[in-house]
């Protein structure tokens, strides 16, 4: 009988645990509670600034309680889509200006912030912050910064040792290959195992150099074709890079982090990576090594119209659920958060951690770590173009990326890939609707 009694006790205890819901909805002492879902990894050095902003916000607004769920990667989107399908989304959430979170922005679930942001507020930000978002030209979020997707990190210690300097042109870069290889180094590390890398970090910049921003917008709408010169030439450069042996062996089976690893171990001279890698470098590399790393953009391409461009896109920010509009207290709290995060207070805090905010700040007054400082300088030096996959539909971009990867491995040529992509876009892309 003892066993039965014990079993019953365990059962009762566990049932009470089972049925206890996980939500802490009960608002204590008149607090406003907002649920939030953020694509952020608080344990990562990259988000040290975010953590500091959240702490400052909690201090300034003790009456606002944020119940935050953090998630990262593909899983973030998978769950968010299920939420969107059931029309129950959190009050505050990470969303993108481009198509990546269109399942919440294009389906009427996200509040258009346009009426809540006056010109006095907007005027304090870089003008690119306010480019229209989504197909209806709304503002679903305030981009707190810009994601700079193209930069070349150069190990000047090795360059000096080999008597080389950063190349001015693509031809000069190619001409360096024999010297670099003879000395036992790899020319350029890049991790294209996930094939969006070559698209985000090279292709967008190359198309911009050949055609400028106007061209891509025309091509998206169908006023130009992806079989035109700017696109085909950009693909040809990538093909040439593969053929000339510029990339490290196994570029298509190396992950991002593995490419970084090769460069950190000083086995390669250049690294193609996003500009947000600087925070990781600051925390992982010895200072002497960091000081010898230069941040540049790709050398001039033969026949390019625009020079020295990198590419950037308004980074993801925080959107507010449409349903929040009905509850004035919640709406005020949510808007207070969005403005605090992107505005002066949040921006100043994030700048201390080396972020370059969209909010206009005098960045010189912040003392930041070595690589973060180089990033600030980089942002001020080079003009920023667009990021290809923030404009075109995901499914087509995915198709293109796969073909690009095959081409880098020796299967396929620029003309066919361009024709195939143009055919897909003409038939399916929402830009051509």
């Amino acid at each position: 009988m003892k066993k039965v009694a014990l079993f019953a006790l365990v059962l009762v205890l566990s049932m009470s645990f089972v049925t206890a819901a996980g939500t802490k909805e009960a608002a204590k002492d008149g607090k406003v509670v907002l649920t939030a879902y953020m694509q952020i990894d608080p344990a990562n050095d990259q988000y040290a600034g975010h953590n500091a902003v959240m702490a400052a916000f909690a201090e300034k607004y003790p009456n606002i309680q944020l119940d935050i769920e953090y998630a990262s990667g593909e899983a973030f989107h998978q769950k968010f889509q299920s939420m969107a399908a059931s029309k129950k989304i959190p009050d505050l959430f990470t969303c993108y200006g481009g198509a990546r979170t269109a399942y919440v922005t294009e389906t009427g679930l996200t509040l258009d912030l346009t009426p809540y942001l006056d010109d006095a507020f907007k005027g304090q930000f870089a003008s690119a912050t306010w480019l229209p978002q989504g197909s209806a030209g709304a503002l679903y979020m305030v981009p707190p910064s810009f994601a700079v997707c193209h930069s070349i990190y150069a190990n000047t210690a090795i360059l000096d040792k080999l008597g080389l300097s950063y190349p001015e042109t693509f031809e000069q870069l190619v001409a360096q290959i024999p010297t670099i290889r003879a000395a036992g180094y790899y020319p350029m590390s890049m991790g294209n195992k996930d094939p969006w890398v070559v698209n985000s970090w090279l292709l967008g910049t190359f198309i911009e150099r050949f055609g400028g921003r106007e061209w891509i917008l025309k091509a998206a709408k169908g006023e130009a074709s992806f079989t035109d010169a700017p696109f085909v030439k950009a693909l040809e450069v990538i093909q040439a890079m593969s053929k000339e042996g510029l990339f490290s062996p196994g570029v298509n089976q190396m992950s991002n982090t593995e490419a970084d690893q090769e460069f950190y171990q000083q086995k390669s001279v250049y690294l193609i990576d996003a500009a947000w890698r600087t925070s990781a470098m600051d925390s992982q590399l010895p200072e002497a090594q960091r000081k010898a790393i230069d941040m540049r953009v790709f050398p001039a391409l033969p026949g390019e119209k625009y020079h020295n461009t990198s590419s950037a896109v308004a980074s993801e920010g925080f959107g507010i659920a449409k349903a929040v509009e009905k509850d004035q207290a919640k709406l005020d709290a949510a808007l207070a958060f969005v403005k605090f995060y992107a505005g002066e207070e949040g921006a100043s805090i994030r700048a201390q951690f080396g972020e370059v905010p969209s909010y206009n700040l005098d960045l010189n007054k912040f003392a930041v770590d070595v690589m973060q400082g180089k990033f600030v300088e980089f942002s001020a030096t080079y003009p920023m173009g667009y990021v290809f996959d923030s404009i075109m539909d995901g499914e087509g971009v995915n198709l293109l990326n796969t073909d690009l990867q095959a081409m880098m491995m020796g299967n396929g040529n620029p003309k066919d890939i361009a024709a195939k992509y143009e055919a897909w876009v003409a038939k399916n892309d929402s830009n051509r609707d």
């Binding site: 269109a102 094939p195 593995e258 491995m409």
Partner: protein, 294 residues
């Protein structure tokens, strides 16, 4: 408590399991069946297109490749994992080696490790900056060495298959080991005293005794391999290009990356239909084999 008659007892025992199962798996899959006939554009259902999604999928070369890759996984499961599982269970059961418990643990270990860890560790070994690659580059003085098989259109699946073999053999080993306990040890002793060869013992005693379990395991292996996702997703995510794509990845991508619930649902229905067909085939083979034994 009033005594239940046979039929009521039957339902008391069966219904709790059945109801939970019907509500959570069968009901949603019928929703999927309905959705699989609908067209989706821009995150919204835009209409009924009959078999349109199925036609799209069946004519997509990426799906063909996925299907072929799933078939390879199935072959390695049924013809690799199960026989190896039987062999290992048998070796351990006969206690030919010292430290059988230690080896049992070692063979069991892989299934306790999540696919994410396995993929992570695999890449730390075989990627271009991995331990193995670095080592080969050093001893062959060929700085360009990489494991070319990963980039081969024909053989890119091979590494995934090897890992699957290592990872899941343990599952079958555990099942077979538990079931070998059912054969009284006197049977083996008698056979050994009669001078029977080990191969004879395996074919004449072990295999017939295990045959219902082998059938069960084959069903598990087939269904598991047609929906395998975790390891492939973590190891290669379908790449390079789409050389290691599998059907579940195709499903995931169309549902969650391209927001096409219609097409995603159609893929899951195709997976179910294919599995039902294959399992019926195995059931047929099993029935025939049983007749032979009797």
């Amino acid at each position: 408590m009033p005594r239940l008659n046979k039929r009521s007892s039957y339902y008391v025992l069966l219904l709790p399991a059945l109801l939970i199962y019907l509500a959570i798996i069968i009901f949603p899959i019928f929703m999927s069946l309905g959705l699989s006939f609908t067209e989706w554009r821009r995150f919204r259902m835009t209409g009924f297109i009959g078999l349109g999604n199925y036609m799209d999928i069946l004519s997509d070369p990426v799906f063909h490749r996925s299907l072929w890759n799933n078939i390879q996984i199935m072959l390695i499961s049924v013809l690799g994992q199960i026989p190896l599982g039987i062999l290992l269970a048998y070796l351990l059961h006969r206690k030919w080696v010292k430290g059988t418990k230690f080896f049992e643990f070692m063979i069991f270990l892989p299934i306790t490790i999540s696919s994410v860890v396995i993929a992570l560790l695999w890449n730390r070994v075989f990627s271009p900056v991995g331990i193995y690659t670095t080592f080969v580059r050093m001893i062959t003085s060929n700085p360009d060495y990489v494991v070319r098989i990963f980039e081969s259109e024909k053989f890119a699946m091979l590494p995934v298959l090897v890992v699957l073999l290592w990872q899941h053999t343990s599952l079958y080993m555990v099942i077979f080991l538990a079931n070998l306990q059912r054969i009284p040890s006197s049977v083996f002793e008698a056979a050994v005293i009669d001078g029977a060869k080990e191969t004879t013992i395996i074919t004449k005693i072990v295999l017939p005794a295990l045959s219902p379990v082998i059938f069960t395991c084959s069903v598990l292996a087939i269904s598991g391999s047609l929906k395998s996702f975790d390891l492939v997703y973590a190891m290669t995510a379908g790449g390079p290009v789409n050389y290691t794509y599998v059907m579940a990845l195709y499903l995931y991508q169309h549902t969650f990356t391209f927001h096409n619930y219609g097409k995603g649902s159609a893929v899951s229905i195709i997976i179910v239909i294919l599995s039902v067909g294959l399992i019926s085939l195995v059931r047929g083979i099993y029935a025939k084999a049983q007749k032979k034994f009797e």
